[in-house]
């Protein structure tokens, strides 16, 4: 049967902001779905609150709503758009849960909207653990022993039967939020309480522990004719007990015989049929006892998942695209496999390489949180590597993580690590366990002992052992011969050793190894990802590197050249690698746009990236895709084959930017802003000189080698100061310092990270308004596309701060001045492409905090808010277009009458014990956008989308530092006017009472421990609707930490700055009903915004 004709308009739900457990893989799946359904002629209505997504680009859907993903807002959209169907299986758990609510609220029934992909009963059967277990037992499959509990008594009863260790998982959550592992009663109680709290239906399942078993996943697709295929099998290197999102995983499964694999496949088919997923992709997890092969079904996701994105990239089989087509009535055999162009999608991909996915963690951002892994996901990103062997893929994955490792290497000398520590790090799953496997192997512990400690399958350990053995052999050879023979060098490359690893053994530099390698005729070659292990001719332009005979990239490039008869110019775009805090989907968005823009101009585009979650690594985005780590070596190898006419480094975030210098020196043609300009902006001294030369202002600053020097500088500048080591990874370890004592202790702490590099000290401009500017520049002229005002005070990382566009409290003269200054800087730095500047404004003085001559995190937000395709335009400028060709004008920007607010989304609920104070270090994982004709409503929408909807009644806990006391009076008055009652700590209460406000006083937590009026208790009892708590200077107090921790746990909105509080109150005052409007209408009514060219 071809497509369904009974539906015309389809509502597609996105997944909202990037959070741990739900990253840009759903932009990938949603974008594929939009494309696939539009291709079929359906009208697409899309809802997603995340502005940094490709899918919310106005051309991907017919009606694009950047609105909160809540039942209320989506109902309003349904009422307005009257879609025939809703597709909830491509927007992660968020979309699925939302669709469930819309069904339960009878909204779907009311507006006669059908659910595509999976219906309510199916989702319930798959997601509700009790129903699922019943279904599994019914078809004769095995599950762990388990029981449900809705309260502590039930839980305690259950654990008596099951016994420790046990796993506790809440029903209906995403990314395993609130789950945990308990070895004893104490841990048990804590995890159960948290689990019940975070479950949408206050339910947890307590389960027999199968920790240490082998873990597998199968990606399954089914069509309405009941045809089922397995797209990919995945085996986890980290055994059961670690969330699969936090595990190193390998595709295909390695240690199952065909018989066992077929048993698992049969089970998966039986499960998808029994659960009844009508069409689309599902993911099923299994555990296998390594001792006897007992196979247990763990869980199923009746939707496209992170693993589906991985499976799609690992095999070349586009799960989300096909899922969308199946949802509208096609069957698998009616869909063509794009890769072979001749065969249908009703087949099972077979691969002739090995894929390793490694998670990227960000524990360094949360020093209080332990890097211990469990059933709750903690990683913020991932990288995938493809190699012909596991050893090669593993080493590529580890260097692709960009965590300072250049393969399966040593950061530390194993001799210096006590055995007890290695034992512990092997036993307790953690972010760096894989490297402890190496230390253990180096200590000569042997596979058996390491297996006993870690339960990592011996098969994986054996391959790691082989890598180490080769390393030792190479080192020995070098000791004897001072060099490496061709054979050894080739073997090392086949084992995935990077040139940098080899340079360490050879005691030389990376370039020398590269030269040596080339002299010996050893070069990387590229193989095709083709779904069929070369059994059929394939047309995918999707490659990975290895060291073998035949280079298929060369074959394909030559073939294309012969066919077209001409040489198209080539632009290569370097992506951002694994997501991390500070570098995520925004940069992928820019890279994808760069590719589109270059194709529009007739270039052939080449994408290089290693992040399987992204749109950029979809093989039909660019003319050719290289799935490779973003290191100098890997990029240069591709340059050797492709010989691009230009390389774009300014869109992928810090990752490609860090390569710019070495690529430039190697003669790679980098387009856009020059490497020198980038360096001028990044080098403190050069930058200061430039600012001085231009007659602009910068916060006073200095750098110090010694503590005494630092104190002297700080005293000269005047406290507070912003202190940071000059040499750290990713803007880490910054601190606002208010006094000498703290400065000294900071310097002491910073010693470890700065390793002899100076400490930088900047004047900290307190209570300044911070402004972020995104601009385009062609070297002569600049155009300021967006001036965003931060809602938090300066000093909070711009990535964590809410901001509003256009700026609300900046006078027009200052706005003009900001534009002038931006143009001056752009011209002085000869910026060609994008430019982002951060300003602090105090007393009408404009201080320049930072200049980034590259795509910024806010570029997609500005594009969505203004309709100006910033990244595309910048890319075109980079290859020679001039600004005037685009017809951009400020008059026209002023015609836009709407206000856009960006709010960040923080991951604190995943890191128990971490204080949620915001500071100069970025901590957020994602962002949302609220858009309205009114600032208050836009802010309110942004808050709702970020998960903390502002209350309209109840008690507000207001406790502020001394500097904010005066400002708090006005805030309290407005709250009182809206009918809120106010609760304050002594100091704040005193000030408020003085101003005639009715305030209830609450003691400090210590004092009030046993009294009923205790803030913590009130938060726990849900008696507080809103917390406004500004940190008092530097000293972080016990009270604040526990209050904020409790607010996160109990989901009470918590505001930490006075500016934030003002915005919130403005939003609350203006909350009046639900208004929704698609981006297309915002742009339409306010003048056409699409750029010329």
């Amino acid at each position: 049967m071809p497509r369904r004709d009974d539906i015309k308009k389809i509502l597609l739900l996105g997944s909202g902001p990037i959070v741990i457990g739900q990253a840009c893989e759903f932009d990938y799946s949603g974008t594929q779905a939009c494309k696939a359904l539009k291709e079929e002629g359906y009208e697409i209505v899309l809802v997603n609150s995340n502005p940094a997504t490709i899918m919310t680009d106005p051309e991907f859907a017919d009606r694009t709503y950047v609105e909160p993903l809540t039942p209320e807002y989506v109902e309003a959209i349904i009422e307005k758009e009257r879609p025939d169907a809703i597709l909830p299986t491509l927007g992660g758990q968020t979309a699925l849960n939302l669709a469930m609510k819309l069904y339960e609220n009878k909204v779907l029934e009311k507006y006669d909207v059908i659910m595509l992909g999976a219906n309510y009963d199916v989702i319930k059967k798959a997601e509700d653990r009790e129903c699922f277990k019943e279904a599994i037992l019914k078809i004769g499959l095995d599950v762990p022993q388990s029981a449900f509990a809705h309260n502590m008594d039930e839980a305690k009863k259950a654990i008596k039967e099951i016994g420790f260790p046990a796993i506790i998982r809440p029903s209906f959550t995403l990314g395993g939020t609130g789950g945990g592992f308990a070895h004893n009663m104490e841990e048990f109680e804590e995890v159960v309480a948290r689990g019940i709290e975070s479950s949408m239906i206050n339910e947890v399942i307590i389960e027999e522990s199968i920790v240490g078993w082998k873990e597998y996943e199968l990606e399954v697709m089914r069509d309405h004719k009941d045809n089922v295929v397995i797209v990919c099998s995945i085996e986890n290197l980290d055994p059961m007990g670690v969330h699969t999102g936090d595990s190193i995983t390998v595709a295909p499964a390695q240690t199952l015989t065909d018989r066992e694999y077929q048993d698992m496949r049969d089970a998966a088919l039986a499960i998808i049929r029994e659960i009844g997923v009508e069409t689309g992709g599902s993911n099923i997890q299994f555990a296998v006892n390594p001792e006897n092969g007992r196979m247990i079904v763990i869980e199923m996701n009746p939707r496209v998942s992170r693993s589906s994105a991985l499976a799609s990239k690992a095999t070349g089989f586009p799960i989300a695209k096909f899922a969308a087509k199946l949802a509208v009535g096609y069957s698998l055999d009616e869909i063509q496999n794009d890769i072979t162009k001749e065969t249908p999608a009703s087949f099972e991909p077979t691969i002739d390489y090995c894929v390793v996915k490694a998670p990227r963690f960000t524990f360094e951002k949360f020093p209080e949180a332990k890097d211990i892994l469990g059933v709750q996901m903690k990683s913020v990103g991932e990288t995938m590597a493809i190699g012909r062997t596991f050893k090669e893929a593993l080493q590529k994955a580890l260097r692709g993580l960009e965590i300072g490792h250049i393969g399966f290497d040593n950061k530390l000398d194993y001799k210096g690590i006590p055995d007890e520590k290695v034992e512990l790090r092997l036993r307790e799953p953690n972010a760096s366990r894989i490297f402890y496997v190496k230390y253990a192997l180096q200590k000569g512990w042997g596979m058996e002992k390491i297996f006993e400690l870690s339960k990592i399958d011996r098969w994986f350990l054996y391959h790691m052992q082989q890598i180490l053995e080769l390393e030792n052999a190479l080192v020995t050879e070098i000791q004897k011969t001072k060099t490496l023979s061709k054979e050894s060098l080739l073997k090392a490359k086949e084992y995935g050793f990077s040139d940098r690893q080899l340079s360490k053994f050879l005691n030389t530099d990376e370039l020398s190894v590269r030269r040596l390698r080339k002299e010996k005729g050893i070069a990387a070659i590229y193989k095709l990802v083709d779904t069929c292990a070369a059994e059929f001719e394939a047309y995918t332009p999707y490659f990975y590197s290895t060291y073998e005979l035949e280079d298929e990239a060369v074959v394909q490039i030559e073939k294309l050249r012969r066919q077209s008869g001409k040489n198209k110019k080539k632009i290569m775009i370097l992506g951002g690698g694994p997501n991390r805090i500070g570098q995520g989907i925004e940069f992928d968005y820019c890279c994808v746009h760069a590719s589109f823009a270059m194709q529009e101009l007739g270039y052939e585009t080449i994408m290089v990236n290693s992040n399987p979650e992204t749109v950029s690594t979809d093989y039909d985005i660019s003319d050719r895709l290289y799935f490779e780590p973003l290191t100098f070596e890997d990029v240069m190898n591709i340059v050797d084959v492709e010989k691009p006419d230009g390389v774009i480094v300014q869109f992928g975030g810090q990752t490609p930017l860090n390569l710019a210098r070495s690529l430039h020196e190697a003669g790679v043609p980098i387009v856009g802003t020059t490497v020198e300009s980038i360096e001028t902006a990044e080098d403190r001294e050069k930058f200061s000189n430039l600012i001085k030369k231009l007659g602009l202002l910068q916060p006073a600053n200095g750098s110090a080698i010694s503590a005494d020097e630092a104190v002297a500088i700080a005293e000269k500048i005047g406290y507070p100061v912003l202190a940071r080591p000059s040499f750290v990874l990713g803007g880490r370890a910054m601190k606002i310092v208010y006094d000498k004592e703290t400065l000294l202790s900071f310097i002491e702490e910073a010693k470890e990270v700065s390793q002899g590099h100076p400490i930088l000290i900047d004047q900290f401009i307190e209570d300044a308004v911070e402004i972020d500017v995104d601009a385009l520049s062609d070297g002569n002229e600049a155009f300021v596309a967006g001036i965003m005002e931060h809602i938090e005070n300066a000093g909070i990382h711009s990535g964590d701060s809410a901001c509003v566009l256009p700026a609300q409290s900046v006078r027009p003269e200052i706005v003009d001045e900001i534009k002038n200054v931006t143009c001056k800087i752009a011209k002085a730095l000869k910026v060609i492409g994008l430019l982002n500047i951060q300003f602090a404004i105090k007393n009408d003085k404009i201080y320049i905090l930072e200049v980034n001559p590259r795509a910024s995190r806010t570029s997609p937000f500005v594009s969505k808010a203004t309709g100006i395709p910033l990244a595309k335009t910048a890319a075109k400028i980079m290859v020679g277009k001039k600004l005037p060709e685009f017809g951009l004008s400020y008059e026209w920007l002023q015609k836009l009458k709407h206000v856009s607010v960006k709010e960040s989304v923080l991951p604190f609920s995943k890191f128990s014990g971490v204080d949620i104070v915001l500071g100069p270090e970025m901590k957020s994982t994602g962002e949302v956008m609220g858009i309205s004709s009114d600032f208050g409503e836009a802010f309110q929408k942004a808050q709702i989308s970020a998960g903390s909807s502002l209350p309209n009644k109840g008690t507000v806990f207001l406790s502020v530092r001394d500097e904010d006391k005066r400002a708090s009076v006005f805030i309290a008055k407005r709250l009182e006017n809206m009918g809120f009652s106010i609760l304050s700590t002594r100091g704040t209460a005193k000030v408020l009472k003085k101003s005639g406000l009715d305030v209830e006083e609450v003691g400090r937590i210590e004092e009030a421990k046993n009294k009923p009026l205790n803030v913590l208790n009130l938060i726990k009892e849900n008696k507080i609707a809103l917390i406004i708590n500004t940190p008092s200077g530097e000293s972080s107090q016990y009270d604040m930490r526990s209050i904020r921790a409790a607010s996160i746990l109990h989901n009470v909105p918590c505001i930490t700055t006075i500016r934030g509080a003002r915005a919130a109150i403005y939003g609350m005052e203006n909350a009046s009903g639900i208004h929704v409007k698609p981006l297309q209408d915002y742009y339409q009514t306010e003048g056409n915004v699409s750029c010329a060219v």
Binding site: D258, Q262, R388, Y462, E535
Partner: protein, 365 residues
């Protein structure tokens, strides 16, 4: 470990390293794209006379065991892989793959760009090849290959068929059906499945006459899979011809081709053979799609059979070739793919039930 060459008859060479077995071994080079199931492949008699290249690069991961065999010996002439895994991890494993290959004196070569080799074979077609650890001279190797008989026109069945007739008992209880199996290189999993379905299988040498077979008064006849060119073992279709119409007949792979010939049809060589465990086949009777295991280079020409007598009931969705046929008058069914899987998906195992049904109906009459 010794340096080894894989030399193809078109003059292409690949270099790698051998396992313990040294010397020379020639055969037809083919590839298999299944990611699991190397032990089944090695012991599948259909691979007799062939040098098999596994496209999945890591081979040996789960070792070998006593159960996952498809016959009592290794049949391949040579085994070509990217990397042998010398360490295996699986609770059922009894030894490593390389020990197994060495014990069976199989010429095996690793370190080969198996993807390049596969692409080469895909474009140029299956061809003769030789693995050698002794002779690296192309001219001399070429000469040696010239003496190796071609797969086309070669009767390989006689090398793999059972010497003596034997009986494979029904799994439990008294047998429901008596099946006469013509062993052209039968895979054990076919016997296991038939036994599970209540069949007592009398396995005959391929040279058995129609009279030999009829003597046991079978309820049904099975023509097995096997190696080589179906047109080369003419005596088998001759035998089958005499049985057509008298008994339910079920054929798999070579058995299907033999039936095609026995029914008066012809076979042709496919441009690209089917060699994997991921081929979609549509059952035209109920429109169900199954993922099937396949291993064949020849195909029955549907046109040669005539639609009056025979109908196509299974079709390969990749290249629209014939995958299964049914006789319109007689209880005859046969399939080009492998419903018995091993290795591969078991989606088509239900086809054995059709054979059982045919026998059941036949018994009634």
């Amino acid at each position: 470990m010794a340096k080894a060459i894989l030399f193809l008859e078109d003059g292409t060479s690949f270099f790698g390293e051998s396992l313990s077995t040294v010397g020379e071994s020639a055969g037809e080079a083919v590839f298999n794209t299944a990611m699991t199931g190397y032990q089944e492949v090695l012991t599948d008699p259909s691979y007799a006379g062939q040098i098999v290249c596994m496209t999945y690069p890591l081979i040996g991961n789960y070792g070998v065991n006593d159960e996952d065999v498809e016959s009592d010996k290794v049949h391949v002439k040579g085994f070509v892989v990217k990397e042998f895994c010398r360490f295996h991890s699986n609770y059922r494993a009894t030894k490593s793959l390389i020990e197994y290959l060495d014990e069976n004196n199989i010429m095996a070569i690793e370190g080969i760009d198996t993807r390049a080799l596969t692409r080469h074979l895909r474009v140029k077609g299956a061809m003769k090849a030789i693995i050698s650890t002794e002779d690296f001279d192309p001219a001399s190797l070429k000469k040696k290959l010239e003496k190796v008989p071609s797969m086309e026109g070669a009767d390989w069945v006689k090398n793999v068929t059972t010497k003596e007739k034997y009986v494979w008992k029904a799994e439990k209880g008294s047998p429901l059906y008596k099946v006469a199996a013509v062993d052209c290189g039968i895979k054990l999993n076919i016997l296991r499945i038939l036994a599970r379905l209540g069949c007592e299988v009398h396995v005959f040498p391929a040279s058995a006459t129609a009279e030999d077979i009829e003597a046991i008064k079978p309820d049904g006849i099975f023509i097995s899979n096997g190696p080589g060119d179906p047109a080369a073992a003419k005596y088998i279709p001759e035998t089958v011809k005499k049985l057509v119409g008298k008994y339910p007949i079920f054929g798999i792979c070579l058995g299907h081709q033999i039936l095609g010939l026995a029914l008066g049809g012809s076979t042709y060589k496919l441009k690209f053979g089917h060699h994997g465990a991921n081929h979609p086949v549509k059952d035209l009777l109920d429109n169900r799609i199954g993922i099937t295991s396949q291993n064949h280079g020849f195909c029955v020409d549907m046109k040669s059979l005539g639609e009056d007598e025979v109908e196509m009931i299974d079709i390969n969705l990749n290249d629209q070739t014939l995958e299964g046929l049914r006789h319109k008058k007689y209880p005859i069914l046969s399939f080009q793919h492998h419903p018995e899987a091993a290795p591969g998906p078991r989606d088509a195992q239900y086809l054995f039930d059709h054979f059982i049904n045919l026998m059941q109906e036949h018994k009634k009459t």
